[in-house]
């Protein structure tokens, strides 16, 4: 899916407009409110392209969702359940080169809809 399709279909707010590339392709996703889990699972992916084409879906609106994405080379974070990030979190996203999006959909629903569109989940690579 193109990032513009994600924004359009899921009614996303783009918090980091200057970093937003509508043509960017998203093929993979991982969802969790626990950044420990995201770090554990996503760090096992060897192919850098996969992570760059991934979105981290989370309800965690703190700096740590941005830091986690940065450490993993994930370039897009999608906040769910209509949560609004504080200005310093948006600023950190800008500084870290992370596209920060928000949707009113729940984590389950947005994940299911993305799956229907062909986006694959990231699982543990042993």
């Amino acid at each position: 899916m193109k990032l513009s399709q994600i924004v359009h279909k899921f009614g996303c707010t783009v918090y980091t407009k200057d970093l937003y590339d509508p043509e960017k392709t998203i093929d993979f996703a991982f969802c969790s409110d626990l950044m420990s889990d995201a770090l554990m699972i996503m760090s096992t992916v060897k192919d850098g392209e996969t992570l760059r084409d991934s979105v981290l879906i989370t309800g965690l609106t703190t700096n740590q969702s941005i830091r986690t994405a940065e450490m993993l080379d994930v370039e897009v974070v999608l906040l769910v359940r209509g949560k609004i990030p504080a200005e310093p979190v948006i600023e950190l996203a800008r500084e870290s080169g992370i596209v920060l999006l928000g949707t009113n959909l729940t984590m389950f629903n947005v994940s299911g809809l993305m799956y229907q569109e062909g986006i694959q989940g990231i699982s543990l690579h042993k």
Binding site: M35, S36, D37, M40, K46, L60, S96
Partner: protein
């Protein structure tokens, strides 16, 4: 030859600043042109270790060095220490509190993830504090990539 030598103070329970040292490390390694895989392994281990100090300790420090073809990370905290290292290394075991869980941590995966990422890991702990030393070897195909 020493090509990197940085020192950071890590403040306990400061979730706004948590991860800042690791972010700076990652950006420096990127500028130095190392491979994405090496940078990711170092960054993830550093971030997990930094978060551990924020969550569990009374504060500490992080030191990052590159000497020849080895990246050294050293994290030292002022206690209270890990009572049972073997138990702490077990997947899923965590003593993290509610605040750290609200900040997305405390799944009990940190130390295990660090061990997996690093080429070498030494962990020493008593009631005075914990010392974590990590080594990452820079291979020929990790150089001048970025």
């Amino acid at each position: 030859m020493i090509t990197l030598d940085r020192h950071f103070v890590i403040v306990p329970n400061d979730y706004n600043e948590a991860g800042k040292a690791s972010s700076e490390l990652k950006r420096t390694l990127k500028r130095m042109g190392f491979s994405r895989d090496l940078i990711k392994r170092v960054s993830v281990a550093s971030y997990e270790a930094e978060i551990n100090i924020v969550i569990h300790s009374l504060g500490g420090t992080a030191d990052f060095k590159i000497i020849d073809d080895v990246i050294y990370l050293q994290f030292i905290d002022c206690g209270p220490g890990i009572p049972d290292i073997e138990l702490a290394m077990q997947e899923g075991f965590s003593t993290a509190n509610e605040v750290s869980r609200l900040n997305g941590f405390g799944a009990g995966m940190g130390l295990k993830n660090i061990k997996k990422a690093a080429d070498d890991m030494i962990l020493v702990s008593d009631c005075n504090g914990t010392v974590l030393k990590l080594k990452f070897y820079i291979r020929e195909d990790d150089k001048n990539v970025g």
